[in-house]
Symmetry: D2
Subunit: 485 residues, 4 copies
Amino acid sequence: MPIRTADDYLASLRNRKLKVYLFGELVTEPVDHPVIRPSINAVAETYRLAEEDPQLAGAQSSLSGERVNRFLHVTESVNDVVMQNRMQRRLGQRTGTCFQRCVGMDAINSLYSVTFDIDQAHGTAYHGRFKEFVKHMQRENFVIGGAMTDAKGDRSKAPHEQVDPDMFVRVVERRDDGVVIRGAKAHQTGCINSHWLLVMPTMRLVAEDKDYAISVAVPVDHPGITYIYGRANSVSRALEGGVIDQGNAQFGGQEALIVFDDVFVPRSHIFMNGETEFAAPLVERFTAYHRRSYVCKTGLGDVIIGAAATIADYNGASKASHVRDKLVEMAHLNETIYGAGIAASHESQPTSAGNYQCDDMLANVCKHNVTRFPYELARLAQDLAGGLMVTLPSDKEFDSPVTGPILRKYLKGNPKVSVDNRRRVLRLIENMTLGRNAVGYLTESMHGAGSPQAQRIQIQRLMKLDEKKALAKKLAGVDESENEP
Amino acid sequence: MPIRTADDYLASLRNRKLKVYLFGELVTEPVDHPVIRPSINAVAETYRLAEEDPQLAGAQSSLSGERVNRFLHVTESVNDVVMQNRMQRRLGQRTGTCFQRCVGMDAINSLYSVTFDIDQAHGTAYHGRFKEFVKHMQRENFVIGGAMTDAKGDRSKAPHEQVDPDMFVRVVERRDDGVVIRGAKAHQTGCINSHWLLVMPTMRLVAEDKDYAISVAVPVDHPGITYIYGRANSVSRALEGGVIDQGNAQFGGQEALIVFDDVFVPRSHIFMNGETEFAAPLVERFTAYHRRSYVCKTGLGDVIIGAAATIADYNGASKASHVRDKLVEMAHLNETIYGAGIAASHESQPTSAGNYQCDDMLANVCKHNVTRFPYELARLAQDLAGGLMVTLPSDKEFDSPVTGPILRKYLKGNPKVSVDNRRRVLRLIENMTLGRNAVGYLTESMHGAGSPQAQRIQIQRLMKLDEKKALAKKLAGVDESENEP
Amino acid sequence: MPIRTADDYLASLRNRKLKVYLFGELVTEPVDHPVIRPSINAVAETYRLAEEDPQLAGAQSSLSGERVNRFLHVTESVNDVVMQNRMQRRLGQRTGTCFQRCVGMDAINSLYSVTFDIDQAHGTAYHGRFKEFVKHMQRENFVIGGAMTDAKGDRSKAPHEQVDPDMFVRVVERRDDGVVIRGAKAHQTGCINSHWLLVMPTMRLVAEDKDYAISVAVPVDHPGITYIYGRANSVSRALEGGVIDQGNAQFGGQEALIVFDDVFVPRSHIFMNGETEFAAPLVERFTAYHRRSYVCKTGLGDVIIGAAATIADYNGASKASHVRDKLVEMAHLNETIYGAGIAASHESQPTSAGNYQCDDMLANVCKHNVTRFPYELARLAQDLAGGLMVTLPSDKEFDSPVTGPILRKYLKGNPKVSVDNRRRVLRLIENMTLGRNAVGYLTESMHGAGSPQAQRIQIQRLMKLDEKKALAKKLAGVDESENEP
Amino acid sequence: MPIRTADDYLASLRNRKLKVYLFGELVTEPVDHPVIRPSINAVAETYRLAEEDPQLAGAQSSLSGERVNRFLHVTESVNDVVMQNRMQRRLGQRTGTCFQRCVGMDAINSLYSVTFDIDQAHGTAYHGRFKEFVKHMQRENFVIGGAMTDAKGDRSKAPHEQVDPDMFVRVVERRDDGVVIRGAKAHQTGCINSHWLLVMPTMRLVAEDKDYAISVAVPVDHPGITYIYGRANSVSRALEGGVIDQGNAQFGGQEALIVFDDVFVPRSHIFMNGETEFAAPLVERFTAYHRRSYVCKTGLGDVIIGAAATIADYNGASKASHVRDKLVEMAHLNETIYGAGIAASHESQPTSAGNYQCDDMLANVCKHNVTRFPYELARLAQDLAGGLMVTLPSDKEFDSPVTGPILRKYLKGNPKVSVDNRRRVLRLIENMTLGRNAVGYLTESMHGAGSPQAQRIQIQRLMKLDEKKALAKKLAGVDESENEP
């Protein structure tokens, strides 16, 4: 039976016998692990939104002919691309963290057109297979994780040049009925919380990299896969029993290393296999979608602006002109990100396969601002929070009969506000600027979908400098005949 | 016969007997004045674009049932609003300056819906009259100048409180057949190059300001009007005879003070008359459109990026990594402006009158970035230009048989590039960062459509802080029952 | 016997029976507590530096006639003030965190001149007493903690207006032989690691605040004092047994709430008692010294620049021009902070008491840059680190026979660098930008010695705007006689 | 008779028969030329300051044994270097422009130590000659212009590799009694207003560049020299007769191209001749001094802050919190520049020749901030000025009986302030941000003493990255033995 609700989703994750390692131990049931659970809650929220607001988080698919979750929808119009951004911002607002499903959504949309193009060029049958795969996902209402970033090893060498050939995921055996893959994908967002993984190459490949030009779908619970959990900052607070210190006890992100230890993939789930020249287009289309998907961070920005405004209220400082001005600056920066992102979506164009691809330049501009502005929002939020944000004693001190009353006496600010409410908001700001969800709000904003320099390189490629020079020369009255060629 | 071509337009401006004062003298024919002409050329370029690219610069009007110039078009779809931005950027690229027609376009679109709303509220007949006026303009293919900014006098006082009641344009006499107005509008872009002026109030008004709640159309050549020309920076280079020193000899902006010395306006051209409560909506709708119209500056940005790249070539420095990086930064900032602007247009909504109004928040965000980023682009362009930009001798030195050869010997940089081409590009950068068109690219970017603080106030109003606080409180687990109300 | 070495210092802290609460429990011996110990090590490093570089970290005192630790030295020359900054930067470099002794140093230097001035005004005997106190500290080579920041309660009310009069430390009883004080000091850096506390008022006071105008010295181990430890971010990693995950396992900061529960202070240790008009000068002189003391953060900046450069090496990216450029930018910002700070010290002037007081404007400018630039350095360090910084599995995963070998295979970057060295540097950057020492490098940089707005207010007071206006008016040729007065 | 007063100085410039070309014509007497005179006034102000404040602008020279102008003083102490900065800021405040004498001051101080070092290495006699030259200058109280920047030609080639060997100043003939030089120096600040020029090489030289390793003193009125005047922006306003439009009618900068057409220099005035390896040290010492000399721009900053504050008063807006905040930001940035500059001076060290050389890193940091912050101050000043700054009609309009009264009616702002005073201040801000002195305040701030990238290269050299890496590795616990070498 397909997944319908957030509860269905939680149930679907149980008893999968995944090999997940965290703090040196095999996790028996991720769903019940206090460090992992908040990340599962964040994904569950995508199902909850789909229930509550089907217009926003669902779509009518002409592929399956049914209404499907928007994260599983192949875009059929400009509006479909725009609606992704609206949904992303909303989920950022509801979770205050990374809800982990954009990679899969962006992966299916880029593979949709790339498989079509490979078939055109090579007479292969990837596109049809891929559509079947997507329909299956839609019908079951599964979560797809997109797995792109390889371990990479020595960055000055191509995949086939590495001393250890496994530094990029590769085909180690080709059989009639499928392929066997080996390698690892790093920094994999939400992988353990997914049902299927879409494996894709991570960069432009050359002919010698043939074994690395592989794109497949693999079930998350494949026995050949090991997951090693990253330790996000401050996650151990979730192990302590207290709630307030966690800042945002309900929601968190997830990144893990996925290790493919000779995993067999049947033909039906292979969507690229050796067509090295299509690695670059796949990466480019994926990153274009995905850089614009960082509009989600404006949802987190809404939360942090709200938190900063609330703590200013609670500190009794909300009428100071500099406080109001800082909130305006935060909103301005946040909406600047949103503007470029939603513009990239609005300016989408149909691909040859018929789905819609966002504007590449504006997507890169959006993401590049995401590598800057959330840091400034975080700085301003810390400014408004005051130093207490980092000197607050722990939950246990507030629960103690000795120190609790002392703290509640001396940490009273605005007389109408409870000390516990004050520290709840302070801990939320800490959570987003230094703690667990700072990983998602800041560092992931820096490196997710490509580090800043990757955007700059893409902007350089797309900026049409020759056209711009021609504009300038015309207005300046440059006479090219005076120059030597 | 209606205006069809750029030449028709130039012809239409002749022999109008305007009272234009410049450098202390009455200008006999503005079209032939070397300081004024470049500003006329910039407007003429809007006609030229309409000829060359009718899709971009024209539209089908259901008002007149004809294809009309896009600057005279009342938007009938989201796409119409978006196309304004595309046209604006293109014209910015073609002129490298302010082409002066956006005020009129934004004025007709805001008056269109506001006259409708006044009629709904007061049973007046402004909307029908206004449509007739617009149809007339469309048929004749006229240039409309929008006149909003009053002299303002003592800024701590409302219009009716001023010592001199003329500091805001007002009705001094009400007759059966019309009204007589008096006052002045300052910083009026392109007014002398227009055929008609749309006069509008400049700010929120209170009941006592009734005589100031006046919106009318007036022909530019009304004998009761005097124009006093602003002296833009460096305009006198146009009087010297040389070309290269001007930087951009062909195109320039225009701002003048318009003085209404008891000008009679017949009923048919009155579109608001005493409905003070509609002054604020008119100003807000106009500024929303107009703040997003500053996307035009990304066209100028394209020129300055191109100029900076060209001078790097000419200096022989274009391969240096810091040069490439600065160009990328310029493009990134320029596209960030564009993103917010075009997003504001894409997110347009229909008004009750049926035309389309852009998103207010994103329009303000666009303009607010325009008050910052062009200054940084100008700084980076000066960086790439090198000091020669400000130490170049004058045209006459290069024409001199004594100094010309010396200069052409010693100012040779890249050996393949003529010294004159090098200085053409340097003078263009000077023109846009310090000279005549720096007024349009920088200072007008700062103050046009409202100074930075005006955007911040509007962002504050629109930022939905209470919603944001609620998001944060929910995630933080704030328990409102613990607080006192 | 006086403290001579770092070991002596550690020994001096043992067996003091302090009432320190952390994680809800009374700490039996802070010196042995894994969370507290790194903060003690940081203070111990000040003794170690004094041994290794006595020129830098010691001074000849004409007060005691002996060579003393520079942190206990009353400045006798401009060079003494400058040398403080050099020592601070060096200790920042050696510890990568807050070494906690500047507050005490700045407190003795400001109280030195303020007690002198009070005596001049009131005929009191504070200055002599204070000198005796300092001599005692010098001879024993003690650590002094300066306790200034009160709990503050409702920020819209003066101390005497608070509902709970204890929100600022106050005299609750005056006896012939001394006073009894009550209240709390918040965010107290290094207090538990000190031997004596110098209590000072936190803000400008009015006549009705007489009981709050109190400055005294109290031994840290006074039985009436309770310390409640703040939970800095990520400190619980110190409880896990692993080393690398801590990032900087050896050194950390410390902030606690100090609660004075009716502590008796004898006359000999009272340095202000009711002279409300001297609260403001004391705060101003202290903050001037202390804002410039934030030069210490350039020492941390040196560490983070070094870490960023190292990780670029380890990632194999150090030759990329954008990497070099980011390192240069980091150095530029770091030295900009240093420039203003050391300039403030160089521009010191003698007080009426004879010691030297730094320049107030430049000290504020230094600190104001400290509220901005470390955040940008942190952002750039995260850029260079790459995403692995936040997705690294925990120490225990690397120690596990199952996952350890997998991780060491796949997380190999530069082939010459061990995976453990790579993660050591990544964890150090995490430590300084998100983890335990981010509190000291970022949030404390924001709020320590006054939040940003406090510096802006002080800059506004000091900026001599009338003189600047006069300069402009003279050059502009303003004729004041044309204006009305 | 030596020059004593500003009037003496003016007299000393007359009748020198210089070959100065401006606007295509030979200038008969520069002192009387309306475009040139303001630049002469700025230099004259250095004499006036020396009269009014001899402590600040004079010094006791142990070279000549007399009190000399500080611009001619070889520094004998750290304080001497610091006092240069104080004098520079003061003169910036008095003139609002470049007063042109720092190049000469910095040139004599760097040649002082470099001639000493050449003599040590080569047994030459430059140092003694140079001291005689300086004594002569001191006794006559002359203005020295320093001439460093060559035309440079093709920037990818060394001097000896250029197609035209004259692209760098060089020795074309060596005689027993001296040398003959040819070439040009570009962007030469204040050269025409000087009495002597100190010619120096512009960059690091290789052995083959021997003829370019030449440093000499030449009298400004040598008949073999031609000066071609640069056209600074807006200078032609000085030709119109009006005063207010000039903004700062009294003071301006000056840059010209100096052409040496086979100029003979006697032995006694040769201070380097072929010692190519000393070109780099000379340039480095000169630029270290000179980059810190840009502290002068904080004097201009004081003027522009004052002007911005005044116009806010005149606009009736000075109480708005955002206005106050912008003024504080301007002051903060201005003092940040000052801090690094004065710190560089305070941290001076004696050279082997005995004079004092400033700190190289801080000097570069100072200048690098000068390439950024004045642009931001200018932007903020334009923000506070309002749009009227660029739409003001010309002086002649205000003098006209027709338009003058209209303008004085409608441009009235704050009712207590005359319209003429308002426009005086607006024109001053225009002058400094777009007009004549924007060249000195902005573009010269960018490129003078080396463009931004030159400072970045020098910061990179000086930043001791290996030491910083070692600090980080130690704290991170990096074990080098785990790495391969």
